[in-house]
């Protein structure tokens, strides 16, 4: 049985989530085959998911209603037992935002609006291989 790969989307605005859903489910890239998509609308529910399920990759928005998305990253293993990769999605303007995200431990960073192909590349790169 092939272990399924799980991607968690942490994003509060529905249009953005819909877009992520659409991009990932439509992706024809082989590497994204059979990926399971989970969604969380804020930090609290994101933490719940991480505590209860195995997650391989987190697509993380920064501006969440109950805090800064980056706060999810540090010591995530200690708190949830999971070690997913994080890709930060941000409507940032400042050049320092990327540096800060990477310094906090994100494996990838995409500025909104992002090209769907860029998203697919990032996800494919950071997901563990199938099987």
């Amino acid at each position: 049985m092939v272990a399924e790969r799980v991607v968690l989307v942490v994003e509060d605005e529905e249009p953005n989530r819909a877009l992520l859903r659409a991009v990932l489910s439509r992706a024809s890239d082989e590497r994204l085959r059979g990926v399971v998509l989970l969604e969380a609308g804020d930090l609290a529910s994101a933490r719940d998911v991480l505590a209860t399920r195995h997650v391989d990759l987190v697509l993380l928005d920064v501006r969440l209603p109950d805090g800064n998305g980056l706060s999810l990253i540090p010591n995530v293993a200690d708190r949830t037992g999971e070690t997913p990769n994080f890709v930060v999605l941000s409507a940032s303007v400042l050049p320092t935002d990327r540096a800060v995200a990477l310094a906090t431990g994100a494996a990838g960073f995409l500025a909104k609006p992002y090209r769907p192909s860029d998203l697919i590349e990032a996800v494919a790169d950071l997901l563990p291989a199938e099987g």
């Binding site: 249009p15 953005n16 877009l19 439509r26 409507a91 769907p116």
Partner: protein, 899 residues
């Protein structure tokens, strides 16, 4: 021994002479009384010396001597009364006793037959004893008074009083021994020795007490200086009032009584800044400048000036009614034009010496420096505080701006991601010929994103305009009721979807505001109410006038807003309350609304609490009725916007637009509504198309290759056959004024709302085809004769004629809003000429469509013709043929005017 005696006596005489010299120099009561006090003994010693030399004594001397001797207590008591309160009765008593004793003694003396002996050798008779007792009593009283004074005072003055008291005692003893000696048969030398020694000591004491010589004064002054300076430095950080108070306290210590410090801080007025011994609040009493100057003038006359001579002081210090002496010490305030003066008020003489005066002046100048330093420091502190708070305010404003930019960036990028993301996805879908099949949801996301972005752009632009003061408001009188109805009707579908009921209760009110912005505010408030009211809720819009203000309120029964958030709701990009309840919107609506209200000199009020719904009220100033009448009235816009016309009456519409995507869009809209659409991609081909077949309406873009939309419009209006075609300008350029002035019936800015376009067309195309006969004509001319002439020409032919004499009348009539089918207008009129009338008619949407014929007696210059180009149908010359000319012209033109 003899020598010592002579020495002592000699010295005493020197003292006496010094006292006399002081009196002669200063002529003041103190030295006079002191001299009198010394006089008996001085005379005794002088007489002794005389006798030693001449061995004779004129009898008169003895008499005088006795007299002086017996009066001495009175002199002493009088001296004491100069420096402290001595009851008048005591003085009178002393005088009485003294005066009474003289004859008593003389009598006794003559009885004993004593002759010319230096000392009185009266036997111890009861009279003598009585006299002596009286003598001692008065001397004792004087000593006691001096003692009391000594206890009351401080510092050098107290010392002086002590000295005086002791000297009194000693002096009395000296006098007694001198008298007793003659009785008690003691060796004359011994008694004389004791007497003279005691006298000298007492004399020195008195001299020091009352006429302190320079060196002694200086010692005391030095001590005072050191002590005061130390105190001044210690208290240098206290307030200016307290610093001056310390100075007045010094003065009072030095002389008793009370003191006030007056400074003139600005020309024309001065205040009492400190006082001791009087119950005065610093700064409570203002002194008139003139009074201050007269007081300062007094200072020149020295100290201890009788209070009567310084009238102003009494006036300001009503309490100090027992003041008998005033000393004024002018203080030099360094580096300043201030005048500072200290006034010492006292019931008794101060015993000042000029050096005391100088001392006070010097210490006063020091105090002034310290006081100035203190006030400079206080100013500095205040400035620093203000600076800090300004820096803080700037910092937080800057932070707010950065926050705004960051928020804005985020807000824009969110819808953009949806638009770009989904459209790119769509592009990636498998193609079926020239189509792709995509989920409807994607389309919705893109559309919503686009709408959101547009709303954002508009709101941000509005904000920017307000900030830059470029809001360009065009205030006009607006019927509140119809504006409210419009807004509510527009939003009813939204409310219906949520089952929310909207009620209006608007009385007949007129407000002056920019029409578009007023609508915008209403729209925003009502749409917010709908957004934040749960399904099945209830909204009420009401308007009233109160206290010179017009209030339009929108009340909902939604979640309500916590009072602590009342200010935050108006901030950019802030949505308050439960994040789960977040509503779609730009986050700028209320911020823009608030600023728009403020730009109208109004405000938005909010009444709300959690769970109790919210009421937002737009408050605008109401103009008084008289002003309202003077403003151009506007007809209430038609309450219900007309529906799309049915196929039967729809005509064909010419679209002049070069952008293919815009054309496609317009075509979609118009054909769906039943219009037949023709398209021209350039102005020239458009005009040609019009010439070929006249459309019912023209939708015209401004930015065209070749001739631009303005030129097309001008030409259309200049063309006899085309001038009456309603032209709607549809463009990105915002030049509404120009468009309407040139004769367009309406002006829409892209992006085009379908409904706006169709409603506009419906208004003009429908009314165009419904036009009945050309019936009503407005004639404008300043000459009554001309008006009558044209009336006479037209009325018989069945035309209804309305006249306006002069440009002003024409404009007023136009404001009245009646409709005519044609305007015949003279050009040359006084005050407001035909050009202005035509321009005004074209500006007003209601009359812009009305054809105008110019009727003038003059030939027009090329320039004038150009001015009228596009605005009028034609020019008819006045004159005998006017009647014919006009009628002729009308009959020729009427068919085309009828479309």
């Amino acid at each position: 021994m003899q020598a010592l005696i002579y020495l002592a006596e000699g010295l005493f005489l020197v003292l006496f002479l010094a006292t006399l010299r002081e009196f002669v120099r200063r002529r003041d009561p103190v030295s006079r009384d002191l001299a009198l006090v010394f006089s008996p003994l001085a005379l005794i010693f002088a007489a002794e010396a005389w006798r030693a030399v001449t061995d004779s004594m004129p009898p008169v001397v003895a008499v005088v001597l006795i007299g002086l001797l017996l009066l001495q207590p009175y002199f002493l008591l009088h001296l004491v009364s100069l420096v402290r309160v001595v009851p008048r009765q005591a003085l009178w008593l002393a005088l009485l006793l003294a005066v009474g004793s003289v004859p008593a003694i003389l009598l006794t003396q003559s009885l004993t037959g004593s002759t010319g002996s230096s000392s009185s050798t009266a036997p111890a008779s009861p009279v003598t004893l009585a006299v002596v007792a009286a003598f001692v009593a008065v001397e004792g009283a004087a000593a006691v008074y001096l003692l009391l004074e000594a206890l009351r005072r401080e510092g050098p003055v107290a010392i002086r009083m002590w000295l005086a008291a002791l000297s009194t005692v000693v002096f009395a003893v000296a006098l007694l021994t001198s008298s007793v000696a003659s009785v008690a048969q003691t060796p004359p030398d011994v008694s004389r020795g004791i007497t003279s020694l005691l006298a000298l000591v007492a004399g020195l004491g008195y001299f020091l007490a009352f006429l302190t010589p320079g060196p002694v004064r200086r010692v005391w002054q030095a001590r005072t200086t050191v002590e005061y300076t130390r105190q001044l430095i210690a208290g240098s950080s206290e307030s200016v009032d307290l610093i001056w108070r310390g100075f007045t306290q010094l003065a009072v210590r030095m002389q008793g009584g009370s003191a006030v410090m007056i400074t003139g801080t600005q020309p024309g007025a001065a205040t009492i800044v400190a006082s001791t011994g009087l119950d005065l609040e610093p700064g409570a009493v203002e002194v008139a400048w003139d009074d201050l100057e007269s007081v300062v003038a007094v200072a020149r006359s020295g100290w201890d000036v009788p209070a009567d001579e310084v009238g102003p002081i009494r006036h300001y210090l009503a309490d100090a009614t027992r003041v008998r002496f005033v000393s004024v010490v002018p203080i030099d305030v360094p580096h300043s034009d201030e005048t500072a003066v200290m006034v010492l008020l006292s019931t008794h003489r101060t015993l000042f010496h000029s050096s005391d005066f100088e001392l006070l002046r010097a210490l006063g100048a020091q105090t002034a420096i310290v006081a100035e330093r203190r006030s400079v420091m206080a100013e500095q502190e205040a400035l620093t505080e203000r600076l800090e708070s300004t820096v803080e305010a700037l910092r937080s404003a800057s932070a707010a701006k950065s926050d705004f930019v960051a928020s804005m960036s985020h807000e824009f990028r969110t819808p953009l991601s949806a638009i770009l993301g989904f459209s790119e996805l769509m592009g990636g879908e498998p193609r079926d010929g020239d189509r792709v099949t995509v989920p409807v949801e994607w389309v919705d996301h893109i559309h919503r994103g686009g709408q959101h972005l547009l709303a954002l752009v508009n709101d941000v632009l509005d904000l920017a305009r307000v900030e830059a003061g470029r809001l360009d408001l065009r205030p006009e009188a607006i019927e509140v009721a119809s504006a409210v109805t419009e807004a509510v009707n527009g939003l009813r579908p939204l409310a219906d979807r949520k089952g929310i009921r909207i009620e209006t209760g608007v009385s007949l009110l007129t407000v002056v505001a920019d029409r578009g912005r007023f609508r915008q505010i209403l729209y925003n408030l009502v749409s917010n109410a709908i957004k934040y009211t749960p399904d099945g809720g209830h909204i009420r819009v009401a308007a009233s006038q109160r206290d010179g203000e017009i209030r339009v309120s929108v009340a909902d029964n939604g979640v309500g807003i916590d009072p602590k958030d009342h200010e935050n709701v108006f901030e950019e990009f802030r949505q308050v309350g439960d994040p789960a309840d977040r509503q779609p919107g730009t986050g700028l609506g209320l911020a823009v609304t608030k600023r728009l209200a403020e730009a109208h000199d109004g405000r938005i009020e909010l009444v709300s609490a959690m769970g109790q719904g919210s009421t937002f009220t737009l408050v605008l100033p109401a103009l008084p009725d008289s002003e309202l009448a003077a403003r151009p009235e506007t007809i209430a816009p038609r309450a219900a916007v007309e529906a799309i016309p049915s196929m039967a009456t729809a005509g064909d519409v010419l679209v002049i637009e070069d952008d293919p995507s815009a054309v496609r869009l317009l075509r979609e809209y118009l054909e769906a509504a039943g219009y037949r659409v023709r398209v021209a991609a350039t102005g020239e081909s458009g005009l040609a198309s019009v010439a070929e077949r006249k459309p019912a309406a023209i939708v015209l873009d401004v930015l065209l290759p070749g001739i631009d939309g303005w030129e097309v419009l001008r030409r259309l209006k200049a063309d006899d056959r085309a001038h009456d075609i309603p032209v709607i300008i549809v463009t990105v350029v915002e030049e509404r004024e120009v468009g309407l002035a040139l004769g367009a019936v309406d002006y829409l800015v892209k992006p085009i709302h379908r409904d706006a376009l169709l409603n506009c067309l419906a208004r003009y195309v429908a009314t165009g085809t419904d036009a009945g006969q050309l019936r009503r004509v407005l004639v404008v001319d300043d000459e009554a004769a001309a008006l009558a002439l044209i009336r006479a020409a037209l009325e018989p032919e069945g035309y209804e004629v309305v006249t306006a004499q002069g440009g002003r009348a024409a404009l007023e009539w136009a404001r009245g809003g009646q409709l005519v089918d044609l305007v015949v207008c003279d050009l040359v009129m006084p005050e407001i000429d035909g050009f202005e009338v035509i321009a005004a008619l074209k500006r007003d949407r209601r009359t812009a469509m009305v054809p105008i014929v110019v009727c003038t007696a003059h030939d027009l210059t090329a320039e004038q013709k150009a001015r009228l180009n596009g605005q009028i149908l034609g020019i008819v010359a006045k004159g005998q043929d006017a009647r014919v000319g006009l009628l002729d012209w009308l009959s020729r033109s009427a068919p085309t005017l009828l479309n």
